[in-house]
Symmetry: C2
C-alpha cells in the first residue's frame, strides 16, 4: 500500500525482485533489449546499481529471472496428447505477446548464441523445467521435447522479430495444426504418462 516509489536496500528480496522484474519488462518494451541496462533498471526503481549487481551479476541472469517470473509454471491441460500440446503452444504464444516479454526472450536468445555461460543458464534454468514438464506429460524422450520447443518457440519469436507484433491468432492456429500431428503420430490420443509398460 506504500505510495513511495523508492525501495531501500533494507527491504526484503521479494520486493526488490518484483520491482526489478516489472521495471525490466517496461524498459525492454520501451527501449529494446539492448537499451535495458542494469543501470536503467536500478534508476527506475530507485536503488543503487550495486543493489542490482549484488542480486544479478549480469544482465543475462536478470533477464532469465524476469522470464521465469513472467512465464510461471507450464499450465498444461487437456485429456488427449493433442490437447495438451495445443494448450502449451497457446500458452507460450500468449506469454510472448505480453509487453516486453517477447523482446526480452528474443534478446537473451541472440545474446546466448555467442555467450556460452548465458546459453547454459538459458538451457538449464529457463528451458529445462518446461522441457521436463513436457516430457512427463507426453512421455517422450528429451531430445524430441527440445525439438518441440524449437518448432513452437522459434516461429513465435521469428514472427515478433519480423513484424514487431505477436503472431496473429490464425497463424497460431496454423502452428498448432502443423505441430500437433507430428507429436501425436501413432501414439493414440490418450495421455500415456501413467499407462503401464507392456513387457
Amino acid at each position: 500500500m506504500s505510495t513511495s516509489k523508492g525501495i531501500s536496500t533494507g527491504r526484503p528480496r521479494l520486493d526488490l525482485d518484483g520491482a526489478a522484474f516489472a521495471a525490466t519488462l517496461r524498459i525492454v518494451h520501451e527501449h529494446g533489449y539492448a537499451g535495458a541496462t542494469c543501470e536503467r533498471v536500478a534508476s527506475a526503481i530507485g536503488v543503487a546499481k550495486t543493489t542490482i549487481y549484488r542480486r544479478w551479476p549480469d544482465k543475462g541472469s536478470l533477464i532469465i529471472d524476469v522470464l521465469l517470473d513472467a512465464f510461471g509454471p507450464l499450465p498444461l491441460s487437456g485429456d488427449t496428447r493433442g490437447e495438451i500440446i495445443e494448450s502449451g503452444i497457446r500458452w507460450i504464444a500468449e506469454k510472448i505477446g505480453e509487453p516486453g516479454v517477447g523482446a526480452a526472450f528474443a534478446g537473451v536468445f541472440s545474446e546466448a548464441v555467442s555467450d556460452s555461460t548465458l546459453r547454459e543458464a538459458l538451457t538449464f534454468r529457463l528451458q529445462e523445467p518446461y522441457r521436463r514438464a513436457l516430457q512427463e506429460a507426453l512421455d517422450e524422450p528429451e531430445q524430441r521435447m527440445s525439438f518441440l520447443i524449437d518448432v513452437v518457440t522459434g516461429p513465435l519469436l521469428h514472427r515478433l522479430g519480423i513484424s514487431g507484433e505477436p503472431m496473429a491468432e490464425a497463424d497460431v492456429g496454423a502452428l498448432v495444426a502443423m505441430v500437433v500431428p507430428r507429436f501425436d503420430d501413432g501414439r493414440g490420443t490418450a495421455m500415456r504418462t501413467s499407462a503401464p509398460q507392456e513387457s
Copy 2:
C-alpha cells in the same frame, strides 16, 4: 593478389564491401553480435570509422548487407512442391550453420523487435526477395509464405540460441517432415506455377 591487409578509401566499393563482410562475420563469430561494432570492423580491415559509416549508416544496415551477401539467391530445386520446399529448408539450415551467419541473423532479429527502422529493412530488404521467390515457385499467397519462413527459420535460429550449434541433420530432417506436408496438402505434387487457371 595483393598481400596488403589495409584498404585505402580510394579503392572501389566492391573491395570495401567484401572486406567488411568477411571481417563482420569473423568478428560476430568471435565476439558475438553485441561485440561486432562498426569500429571493430573498420579497424579489422584498416579503414577509418567514417569510411564504414559513409557506406552503412548503422550496424543494422551493415549486418543486413552481410547476410544478403552470405545468403545469395534462393537456390530452389526439385520437380515436386515437396522437393522444392525441402531444398529451401536445407539451404537455409546450411547457411545458418556457417560461422558468424547464424549469430548475425539471430542478433539482427532480436534488435529488430524493438527497432522499427531495422525491422522494416529486415522485412523489405532481407526477407521479401526470398518470400517472393517462394511465392512464385509455389504459387501461394504472401501471408502463407511468411508463415513458411517463420516455421523454418524460427526453429533453426532457436536451436542455435539454445545449443550454440546449428540444428543437427536428424532434426533438420524432422523439420522437413513436419513442414513439407502442411504446404503440400491438396495441391498435388507438381509445381503449379505455370498451370493454366481453370475458369
